[in-house]
Symmetry: C2
Subunit: 442 residues, 2 copies
């Protein structure tokens, strides 16, 4: 009999790899933060003993969810401005609030709030884009969650940096600061085609190439963005990015609404990853990303919540459900983006986009023990005919009871083990009063 | 000082009437199941004492949510068949399962499961359409929830009735059975234009007129339905209903996708109520109801979840959010269906459609104490800039802590007081095994 760190017995396990598979009455064996085996419970009893054993017979285990597009610290701006289009929302509310308030402690307190919310809803990895990525990295590291820090690049001065040289210089330093951290990696994060010049993009590309970084960028978020670009540059943003050599399997293009057929071909040809943020796109009426066509073409599509300021939650279970429902109506076919595909987008595809699918994104031996346990015994998830369909269409995030990242038990029977929730709430209240006092009346 | 039954102090109250209003630090005074006053907390302290006083300082109170289209007992078929279009879903899965299993105990056990789920998510009233409405009425009455029982009418034999004469005869008996029950009313419920003949509809209309009943009917659910009708009758279903004299303020037309401009005019002219079920329409890829145009035209729009078999929940907070998000993208305007309008659709507009807006649907003195308390202190709903926007865009149904219907405390700190949740779960497991055994492999 082999002795292990952790053994989790579960009613059901959905490993994501192989696709569309549900193991019943199985166990996951964990050693040194990694999955050693997934096997039937009756075999596990004979083969393994463990320092800690969990018996979750009414629970479903899934791989940790990957939120592939966040601005975590903006959770402090949840509900700050609503029911208005992107441009007004950004120019009259969000950007002024950010200019007035964003500093190191805003970023730290906002990141803690976001990470607490994400862990409580089964997210084990997030792909962030914001100012002071070093602070986000420190908070994520303390919390024990996996993160990709966007090395933000934008052509206007902020509290973080004054020009593109300083953005890149600071980005390089952040990359170096976290280069030995097993849970934290970095990505170059040029904000968007409309906010970063060709010169800045070229300089950013050099940095990304030097360290083999993924590139995380908003692209084609709204038709206004596209129209303005055509007016200014005589070409659509995607065409411009192609000319700059930015289309590649390294690129995570976020939003991607209003795509022409030839643009979809371009994405396929260059192996670009799409980060689909359906709820933010709906709430800001930005547009829709044609994910059923892109998926059929074999393009990798991951999911993100975007910031809580335009969603207004960081709930990847909800995002997965919205992605499936929206794709069905847009393609007029209820069989499009079935539950198994939606779950893949929220897990393995995110890991692929981030270049870490050798480490996480599915429950297979050798990968990190990034695991979420979901209680399926409440009436809201009964009866159970198909746990996979139940997960996508009926499970709410309040059913997430336990979360492990690299074998560390970060959410334990719904209690956070690495974050002080009372302190987070107290700081959030202080920020709320400070920020509300400067809000323009609507 | 006046002595009362119940006094509830709350951090915030959103009364729905007047629209777009949030009272801070107010109290609701309740006597004999009715709201007596809503007033600032510091005044309430001086004016009232009560047998039971609740101090919910971190909570928001809203009117009970009205689920304006359900097939409650079908909750036993949640997740039974997914990721397929309406016609296949109905013909190959749902109808065969119903033919094999629907009887009095299926309806009773399914209704209990549904009512438990609805109470736990803030629904205080539901508008049901199913077989054995007498059983649904008895269960609802025992549970203390408000309900409108659809007197189902359909042109094929079921366990409930063999032909339209028997459906109507039994419907009349159900109406008489509940005529003295203050929480239960009935509606004539012809299933859909494609499943009820002109002769049956005319006979049904006479019954509805005799008792002044609302009429609850699926209309224009899919384009297939409309195409088939044009082929068969030479006219679209709505035109046929108009000729039969069924378009009136008494009609609750459910779904209403694929509407022509002249059909919208017709709905406006006749004062027809629309019951919008966005999540079911998305999941079955049925089509979209143009609620922003209908709302602008002054047509009353209420919301329903439809059955848990095509949703897959009975979550009206979620439905409200989906309605707002979907309307924004369809109309390409993020300001369309703002939070206050979405909340109205989920409360007051449902009461209007059911003809009970003198009794429920908003928190105003004289109306029934149908009240929902929502805990706003968890991190998922922090910070709070605008409680109304937070309610629609960030609150999940797990934040519902307490529910009163006509002053009766049916959900108390998340525990059901009138339903045995262990018994419900046990019976649901039995049905699950029985039904799964007869399921066609997908």
């Amino acid at each position: 009999m082999q002795h292990l760190d952790i053994l989790i017995y579960a009613g059901w396990i959905i490993p994501v790899e192989p696709e569309n598979t549900v193991y019943e009455q199985h166990a996951i064996a964990i050693q040194d933060g990694k999955i050693v085996a997934i096997l039937p419970s009756d075999e596990a009893v004979k083969r393994f003993s463990a320092r800690i054993t969990y018996r979750l017979n009414t629970h479903l285990l899934i791989p940790g969810l990957i939120n592939a597009h966040t601005h975590a610290s903006m959770t402090l701006l949840r509900g700050f401005a609503d029911d208005m289009p992107l441009e007004k929302w950004l120019n009259e509310y969000i950007w002024p609030a950010e200019q007035a308030h964003v500093n190191e402690s805003f970023v730290a307190d906002g990141a803690k709030l976001a990470i607490a919310e994400m862990l409580r809803s089964g997210v084990t990895c997030f792909n962030d884009m914001y100012f002071f990525p070093d602070i986000v990295g420190e908070i994520a590291s303390q919390a024990g969650i996996r993160a990709t820090l966007g090395l933000i690049l934008i052509d206007f001065p902020t509290a973080w940096a004054k020009d593109s040289n300083e953005y890149l210089q600071k980005g390089r330093a952040v990359h170096e600061q976290f280069s030995d951290n097993p849970l934290i990696q970095t990505a170059l994060a040029p904000h968007a085609p409309y906010s970063v010049s060709d010169i800045s993009l070229k300089a950013g590309k050099l940095l990304a190439e030097e360290f083999d970084l993924p590139i995380h960028m908003h692209v084609h978020e709204t038709t206004t963005e596209i129209k303005d670009a055509v007016k200014k540059n005589g070409e659509r943003p995607l065409t411009r990015l192609k000319k700059l050599g930015l289309l590649s399997p390294k690129l995570m293009a976020v939003h991607m609404t209003s795509l022409k057929n030839e643009e979809m071909d371009l994405l396929e040809e260059h192996g670009v990853n799409i980060i689909h943020c359906p709820e933010s796109n709906l709430k800001l009426a930005s547009g829709t990303c044609p994910i059923s066509k892109l998926h059929e073409a074999g393009i990798n599509i991951a999911l993100g919540t975007d910031s809580a300021a335009s969603n207004d939650d960081l709930d990847m279970l909800g995002e997965m459900r919205t992605a499936a429902l929206l794709a069905k109506i847009l393609s007029k076919d209820a069989s499009i983006i079935p539950a198994s595909t939606a779950l893949q987008m929220a897990t393995l595809n995110g890991a692929k986009a981030l270049g870490i699918d050798d480490i996480t994104g599915s429950l297979v031996p050798g990968k990190s023990a990034d695991i979420v346990a979901i209680n399926m015994s409440d009436i809201e998830t009964q009866p159970i005919y198909n746990p996979l369909s139940q997960l996508v269409y009926a499970v709410g995030r309040d059913k997430v009871t336990d979360v492990w990242v690299a074998g560390k038990h970060l959410l334990k029977s719904r209690s956070l083990t690495s974050l002080d929730i009372h302190d987070i709430k107290a700081k959030t209240h202080l920020w709320r009063d400070k920020i509300a006092a400067t809000r323009k009346p609507s």
